[in-house]
């Protein structure tokens, strides 16, 4: 080995490449957004920013985003903590099954859920509303899904698994003797829950809650489907509205960059607090001997609570899914679900005839495939440098590696528009390439998370042992490290491929006449009132997601839920 005294070796080369990728794909677009938001004609323009923010519609969107995010966070946290506690600390029957079922809402793209709920609960034509109105003989709809409440409810349904996963995982990892020692000290189960379990779970609860807040604040799908009709906009939907209404005028872009900056700052704050909470060492709960934890005997409440859980899944997952499939089978929207009104024509039409949907399916497939492959490979490389290599200047990469986690889809879309619209010599606007670049930025976080976790499992000594046996750095990597982290890489691929397949937030700002994706097509069909086709394409998307989940399980041997980020 002669590399120790070289000034510029493989390590430096890999570092440089990794830094370059993150700079071009993530850092520069974000900087361009901040630059465009705050700088006009080379000078800081705070007055201009204030002027934009004081426009009633902009101000209202910011308020809406905050209100929705706050309410969704509270609701999701309550749901997530309650169900997590139920499946891991009580003797609820069929716990393992219920645990998997509670993760299903995560797989369901929330904007498809929103479309289903629109079909069920829109004020005039909603199926449930119509049913209830004829039942009670009233003219007034009972529920209006086109409202802040509707948006909050639907988002919470599909976001609570963030909290559920964090908390149920933490409850399972927690050393049961922490609770047992409280019990033998004389505390009853309620006291233990209140004074020991909940405080110890607080970091996990907060981490999950902050993820929900981050996600909801920048969420496009549900407010776009349910809010636009009633004139309710949040930050992402207003950005979309402004850019599309104006056909990309400078003022619209500028308002967009200012709104995006708010999202970036909020996201950075959220991630910073999350990091602070999780690294606060005094809460660490190390697992000891694996003794089964104490379970609260629910006794009389056992079956009522099981029924409640099943009902929750039935209402939030089953009902919307069935609705989507039934509507997808209708000859015309508005007919009753009688067998003579059913047809498979919608499916054959969107799969084989309609250009819009055929293009969309094809575009989504190759874009997701390419983005997943490239992002996974580059992400592995970056993780490798961060986790395994000792090289000067690594802190730069570590910092850049945090960026993808904090950038919402809308922001990425706007950033790549600013960067790749010809200003810097390359014009990718209206091509598939701009979506491809945006997907890489959007999903880099998933790749980094999955592959760095896999790499951290591989002890340094394994690679060092290979080097001691005479393998070169490259051989050690190829023969020892890569085979060991392959499951992590495969997982990363699917964790990107599946969400990308049904991506909406980013694509909706970037698509051109021939580059619609599945998400965009469903959204457009729904907006145009082509509800049956929107439902049919949604049904196809759901089938693909289920198949994809099955493939993940076959390949990785575990149940990983690919969700988040539609």
């Amino acid at each position: 080995m002669t590399g120790t005294d070289r000034k510029f070796g493989l390590a430096e080369l890999l570092l440089l490449f990794s830094v370059l990728v993150l700079v071009v794909v993530v850092a520069v677009p974000i900087l361009l957004i901040i630059w465009n938001a705050f700088v006009v004609d080379g000078g800081l323009n705070i007055a201009g920013v204030a002027q934009v923010l004081s426009q009633p519609d902009v101000f209202q969107a910011v308020v809406n985003s905050l209100v929705i995010a706050a309410a969704v966070t509270v609701l999701s946290t309550i749901l997530g903590v309650f169900f997590a506690w139920l499946v891991s600390r009580t003797d609820l029957p069929f716990k393992e099954t219920m645990k998997l079922l509670f993760l299903v809402p995560f797989m369901l793209p929330s904007f498809i859920g929103a479309i289903a709920w629109k079909i069920l609960l829109s004020p005039r034509a909603g199926l449930i509303n119509k049913g209830l109105m004829s039942l009670f003989g009233t003219e007034q709809a009972l529920f209006n899904i086109y409202s802040l409440t509707g948006i909050i409810a639907v988002e919470s349904m599909y976001l609570f698994p963030f909290v559920f996963i964090q908390v149920s995982g933490a409850l399972e990892r927690m050393d049961p003797t922490l609770e047992e020692s409280a019990r033998i000290s004389g505390a009853g189960l309620l006291t233990i829950t209140r004074r020991i379990t909940l405080p110890l779970m607080l970091p996990s609860i907060a981490a999950g809650a902050l993820l929900v807040a981050l996600y909801s604040l920048a969420h496009f799908g549900v407010p776009a489907v349910l809010g636009t009709e009633a004139g309710i906009f949040n930050i992402p939907t207003l950005i979309y509205q402004k850019i599309y209404a104006s056909g990309g005028r400078f003022e619209a872009i500028r308002a967009g960059t200012i709104l995006s900056s708010i999202l970036v700052i909020a996201a950075a704050l959220i991630l910073y607090s999350q990091n602070r909470i999780l690294t606060a060492g005094r809460f660490q709960v190390i697992a000891g001997k694996s003794v089964r934890p104490m379970l609260l005997k629910l006794r009389g409440l056992k079956y009522p609570l099981l029924a409640l859980s099943v009902l929750y899944i039935a209402v939030t997952v089953l009902l919307p899914t069935v609705t989507i499939f039934l509507v997808a089978l209708l000859r015309t929207y508005g007919l009753s679900f009688a067998l003579e009104n059913m047809t498979l024509h919608n499916f054959t039409y969107i799969l084989f005839t309609m250009k819009l949907t055929r293009d969309a399916i094809w575009n989504s497939f190759y874009l997701s495939l390419a983005a997943a492959l490239v992002t996974m490979l580059v992400g592995t490389l970056i993780s490798y440098v961060i986790v395994k290599m000792r090289v000067r200047g690594k802190f730069l990469l570590e910092f850049l590696g945090l960026l993808p986690f904090s950038v919402p889809g809308t922001v990425i879309a706007l950033g790549v528009i600013l960067m790749w619209s010809g200003k810097f010599g390359v014009n990718l606007y209206n091509t598939a390439w701009i979506i491809f670049v945006a997907y890489i930025a959007r999903y880099m976080a998933f790749a980094l998370k999955s592959t760095s976790a896999a790499l951290e499992q591989v002890g340094d000594s394994l690679e060092e042992a290979a080097r001691a046996c005479g393998a070169s750095h490259w051989q050690a990597m190829k023969d020892v490290v890569l085979p060991l982290i392959k499951p992590g890489m495969v997982a990363a691929f699917f964790l990107i491929f599946l969400p990308a397949l049904r991506e909406l937030t980013t694509s909706v700002l970037l698509y051109g006449p021939t580059t619609r994706t599945i998400g965009v097509a469903i959204y457009a069909l729904n907006e145009d009132g082509e509800t049956v086709y929107a439902a049919a394409l949604s049904a196809v998307a759901l089938i693909i997601i289920v198949i994809g989940q099955w493939v993940i399980k076959q390949v990785t041997g575990t149940t990983k839920i690919a969700g988040g980020g539609s």
Partner: protein, 358 residues
Amino acid sequence: MAHVILRDITKRFGSVVAVDKLNLEIARGECISFLGPSGCGKTTTLRMLAGFEDLDEGEILVGDRVISSSFKNYYLPPEKRDFGMVFQAFAVWPHLSVFDNVAFPLQIRGLSRSEIREKTTTALKYAGLLDAKDDYPNALSGGQKQRIALARSISFNPTVMLLDEPLSNLDPKMREVMRFEIKELQKRFNFTIIYVTHDQAEAMALSDRIVVMDFGALVQQDDTPVNVYLKPANKFVFGFIGLSNFLEVEVVEKQIYLKGAREAGPVTAVVPPHAPGHPPTLACRPGEIDLVPDGGVRGVVARRVLLGDIIDYRVTVGATEVRVQRNVRKPVFREGDPCGLAFSALHWYDETGARVSG
């Protein structure tokens, strides 16, 4: 007078019988150890005592009060038993300060603020934690964490203390210190200790009485530490306590020889009673065999390892290998040297493993 009584207690996990009809009486103020290999059922027994596991059969009494009974299907919940308990993984609460950890049982019992302060301070003082009372546990070492757990369990003056391998997660030096401290705390607070361990030295150092268990919590010997060490009741106990040689022997003309090594010379002339053709097994500690240049049972040094203050020899006699440990300052034999084995303190066990008095 018996303080804690276990009657025929049995626990099954599926088809595995973890504890099989265990009967035990423990006197007030006694320190009793359950000693046995991992998985033998000793921890399960302790957890049944604590009330974390129900019984499949049997009952447990404290004083004259039934606290667990499979017959009456009555189980006093753990929080009502007023036992102190210390766990292997410390189980101190990371979100509470040292003081609040120790005060917790007192707060639960609804004591007044001044009483809580007084009793907590006393417990902290005896556990040597007064200086650390405002710290959070994760800032402290393993030994300190276990002191918190001890202080917490003595703060409300329990009459029974359950200790589940409390020293296993500590380094050897801290283990010795803590053994001593547990003993001191017992002297001061005079509680009954039921101590679970797989470490015989720990059991020897602490206990008034050791219950050696095999799988199923089957009691192999229930005796004082000295007797457990000097007169192991059966082959299992002999093998579990300390180092051991088990040697097959043959009896020829009222002399005992190592099996197939008559030419090496006799081990002893004392022949224990046995059925004809079924000589007992000879058990002997490596430290109770001496190496001599002349005489003894003749063998050859096959391997020699320095362990610090002692040297560990493997001596082959015919087809038998005998382990011998001698002080490092005694004359040294090299590998390949011929030598003689001088046996002392012989134990005999018949084919069922039972001790043969001889």
